[in-house]
């Protein structure tokens, strides 16, 4: 028994007693179950295990604190309408927004934040971390940290562009098909079926092998692969809107199709489309990373998280976790985007009222 263990249990038991006394039900259940779990873990894993539990709990508490303060920050700086939406947002949404915000800052100000250039060789291959290099060097002696910062710009930027393009194409075609109906709807629908019937990774490999790999083709190919999903969503959402009386009123007024789509249908379809945007962004992101891992994505020496995982994969055999850091960056962004999307879905489902 040392002071750490005694302090650890004293804190947990004291905390749960306090929670019970003040009738904070959820807090009590949380603290007390943590106490029980710690008993078991302490017996099995000893002090080291308890340290892990402490660090884990601390991390969660820390991110909750950050999300909370970020959410309050947004409430203060946003205009009344946005502030109201933020105040009712769950903590997870705050966390998601915070992560996205951080990534955006990292991506936009990459050259200022990163201590070295993304292609700059400054050390020997696989050099360990020192005061110069926060995360050590990669397989060519480039600074890992700088490359991760630049990767935020390249990988996320590319995924974002591709998703936006996919949405512009898919949503326009989908809403157009919903408004027009008939043969055009059938034709577009069948084209989409054909694209969707080919596995996306294989299809993109095929297209990229034909047209060559550069950033522009990459964006277009990915957009073509993901547009059909957006098309189907936009068509079904639009299909529910076009039967409303106000669409009939606009048609009888003599409005053109483009006006109908832009002014009458689109504003009533944005909520599900935005939610879908978040999800698709994650898929596109993973596809870009996957393509990079296969060597068909963003080409070296441009920093990109997917290829960084592949290039440094050998380090794993030496017990280093460095290659997992870019992978972790991808995972964190995916989780964050999904948190925000969940919140938006909740808001658009009408439960908020």
């Amino acid at each position: 028994m040392n002071y750490f263990i005694i302090g650890f249990y004293a804190l947990l038991i004291g905390g749960s007693s306090l929670a019970a006394y003040y009738q904070k039900r959820t807090a009590f259940i949380l603290l007390f179950s943590l106490t029980l779990v710690s008993f078991v873990m302490g017996i099995v894993g000893g002090e080291a295990m308890l340290w892990t539990v402490t660090i884990g709990a601390g991390l969660i508490a820390f991110s909750a604190g950050v999300s909370y303060s970020f959410r309050e920050f947004l409430v203060v700086i946003l205009p009344p309408n946005g502030a109201k939406a933020m105040r009712t947002a769950p903590l997870t949404a705050g966390f998601g927004l915070f992560v996205i915000f951080t990534y955006a800052i990292a991506g936009i100000f990459a050259p200022i934040i990163a201590p070295f250039g993304e292609a700059e060789v400054i050390s020997s291959a696989f050099a360990p971390a020192d005061e110069n290099m926060l995360l050590g060097a990669d397989q060519l002696g480039r600074d890992m940290f700088s490359r991760i910062i630049y990767g935020a710009r390249n990988t996320v930027g590319l995924a974002l562009l591709a998703t936006i393009l996919a949405f512009v194409m898919g949503a326009t075609a989908g809403l157009y098909a919903a408004t027009k109906g008939g043969k055009l709807d059938q034709l577009l629908g069948r084209i989409v079926d054909v694209i969707m019937s080919i596995p996306s990774l294989i299809f993109s490999l095929l297209l990229l092998s034909i047209f060559g790999t550069n950033t522009v083709t990459l964006i277009i190919v990915i957009a073509i692969i993901y547009a059909p999903r957006v098309f189907r969503l936009a068509r079904s959402v639009g299909g529910n809107v076009v039967v409303m009386d106000y669409i009939e009123a606009a048609k009888l007024r003599g409005e053109g199709t483009w006006y109908l789509i832009r002014k009458e249908i689109l504003p009533n379809s944005t909520a599900p489309l935005i939610a879908e945007f978040g999800l698709e962004f994650c898929f596109v992101f993973l596809l870009v990373a996957g393509l990079s891992f296969l060597g068909l994505g963003i080409q070296p020496p441009t920093a990109d998280w997917g290829s960084m995982v592949r290039e440094n994969a050998t380090l794993i055999s030496f017990g280093e976790i460095t290659p997992l850091i870019p992978a972790g960056a991808i995972a964190l962004l995916t989780v964050a985007v999904n948190f925000v999307v969940d919140w938006m879905l909740y808001r658009s489902s009408g439960l908020k009222e």
Partner: protein, 544 residues
């Protein structure tokens, strides 16, 4: 009266609050209610009066985002519902308190047969075995005078008509022989001829089983037939309560008197302008949806400055006529003339000016106004589109139109439709059609989704606008009270054919066509004995 019977439901100081804009707002402010066994109480009031909320609270239930406030007491047969745990309330609902909703079509599960839904509650509460319960269902169907009571239960909800569905739902509420049934506007969605069948069926079965009932409606004439006692509500407060006859003969409160007076609005019939050609002529029109013919040789004229009411029950083809006139459904035969000239059958082939001349106001203002567009843009768009107005001129025009429909421009200019009440939305719908400066407006059941007071306001507004702007209306409705107040000429339709047409006064004085007679006699009157007398006259076997 049932003063001697024991008290079944005793609500004291009922407060219900709803959560909106991050605070709790009162919906019902301390209403007391006492209901004896076997008694039927009518709750009336306009929308937002809290009638349905009180009805649900009688089951110890509140909608999501609502709660029962401090100090309220709901006592059902000696049980305090506000403190009863949810699980006990669950076993009470369906078994001892049943609920009949406004829209039976939306309340039945379309994937299960009627009888399976009927027997669900008795089986779950172990009151009856499946077979027993099925036999009971058939008996109830027979009592409610449903056709083929032995077989109808084995149909799916979409295979029976609206009126039959509403009766099947009443039968379902009766399945466990509850002590109390809450009827929430059970006939509002039905047309007059069907309404009578449902009303008499409900009244008989409530009598037979001596069930107590809360009957919620905004239709006074209906409540007069059904209730022993009437309670009038306004904005979550009680206005007054009295037994039906006293209430009808001698209402005390001003608000109640205004409700009673609603049906007094009547406009004198205008004669046809003699030497003019008709503004709109529907000439020998046939139309069909796919292969199903819906209109057969429909012809009538609408003259400038006049109101022509097209009446008939649902399915009679009255809305289809409107679709033919607007060009949404090109007729298979015949033509539509506007000021003596034939209009292209499809709206896509019509000129901007032809489209501008004929505007439409819809039944459901909720779906007729784009919820994501501001009021100023909804009204401004036709003005901009047809007259090319923009900038300050457009704003002036919108202000002018808002003034015309009696809404304050400074208050409503930048609002969105969901922030408005039903009557206000309908007014915006009217303003949108006026913005096009039309000569002819089709009003498709514009008042049937509104409360009587609000509906009367809309009718008066339409009448005022007609006088000021020399408009012609085609008024589609199933409500003959509306026809009586606003129409100049009446066209009666049945099964897609015009049965009878002529000036209003002529139509409302006998002799009538058989069908017109049925429609006219089916309009509920304020007399509490009206239903009984009518059913006696028609004979008991007149249903279906």
């Amino acid at each position: 009266m049932s003063q001697d019977k024991s008290v079944l439901l005793n609500i004291k100081n009922l407060i219900i609050e709803g959560y909106s804009d991050e605070k709790w707002v009162g919906i019902v402010h301390g209403v007391d209610l006492t209901l004896h066994r076997g008694e039927v109480m009518g709750l009336i009031g306009e929308s937002g009066a809290g009638k349905s909320t009180i009805g649900l609270a009688a089951m110890g239930f509140t909608k999501d985002g609502c709660r029962i406030g401090e100090g309220s007491s709901i006592e059902f047969d000696g049980m305090e519902l506000t403190t009863t745990p949810e699980s006990d309330l669950q076993s009470l609902r369906g078994a001892r308190i049943a609920y009949v909703a406004q829209s039976a079509a939306a309340s039945f599960n379309p994937a299960h047969k009627l009888i399976d839904q009927h027997t669900e509650a008795p089986i779950q509460y172990r009151i009856k075995k499946r077979l027993e319960s099925q036999e009971d269902a058939m008996e109830l169907y027979e009592r409610l005078r449903l056709p083929n009571p032995k077989e109808i239960g084995f149909r799916y909800p979409h295979q029976v008509s609206g009126g039959q569905l509403q009766r099947a739902m009443t039968a379902m509420a009766m399945a466990c022989r509850p002590d109390l049934i809450i009827f929430d506007e059970p006939t509002t969605a039905l047309d007059v001829t069907t309404q009578i069948e449902v009303l008499s069926a409900i009244r008989d079965i409530v009598d037979q089983f001596d069930t107590a009932a809360l009957y919620i409606t905004h239709d006074l004439a209906v409540v007069a037939q059904m209730a022993d006692v009437i309670k009038v509500l306004l904005k979550g407060n009680e206005v007054e309560e009295a037994d039906t006859r006293t209430m009808l003969e001698n209402p005390q409160d001003d608000y109640t008197k205004s409700l009673w007076a609603v049906r007094d609005f009547k406009r004198d019939q205008k004669p046809r302008p003699s030497d003019d050609t008709a503004l709109v002529t529907v000439k020998n029109v046939d139309a069909s949806y796919g292969d199903t013919p819906v209109l057969h040789d429909v012809s009538f004229d609408i003259y400038r400055g006049m109101t022509v009411a097209v009446v008939g029950e649902s399915g009679s083809g009255k809305s289809t006529v409107a679709r033919c006139i607007t060009g949404l459904l090109p007729p298979t035969k015949g033509e539509i003339l506007f000021q003596g000239e034939a209009l292209p059958p499809d709206y896509r082939d019509r000129t901007k000016d032809q489209l501008r001349q004929a505007q439409m106001i819809y039944q459901m203002a909720d779906t007729a106004l784009n919820p994501k567009v501001k009021i100023c843009d909804i009204i401004g768009r036709p003005a901009q589109f047809y007259s090319g107005l923009h900038g300050p001129a457009l704003k002036n025009r919108v202000d002018e139109l808002l003034d015309l429909i009696e809404l304050d421009p400074s208050k409503y200019y930048n609002r969105y439709p969901p922030e408005l009440s039903g009557g206000q939305k309908q007014r915006i719908g009217i303003a949108r059609s006026l913005a096009a400066e039309p000569t002819f407006i089709i009003c498709d059941e514009v008042t049937s989704a509104l409360d009587q007071l609000v509906a009367e306001g809309i009718l008066r507004l339409l009448d005022k606008l007609q006088n000021e702007l020399d408009l012609s209306y085609m008024f589609i409705t199933h409500d003959l009270a509306t026809v009586r107040s606003i129409a100049d000429e009446v066209v009666v339709m049945q099964y897609g054919k015009v049965v009878e047409q002529g000036p209003k006064d002529e139509m409302f004085t006998p002799p009538h066509h058989e069908y017109t007679d049925l429609l006219l006699s089916s309009v509920p009157e304020m007399d509490p004995d009206w239903l009984t007398t009518l059913l006696d006259e028609r004979g008991t076997d007149s249903t279906d």
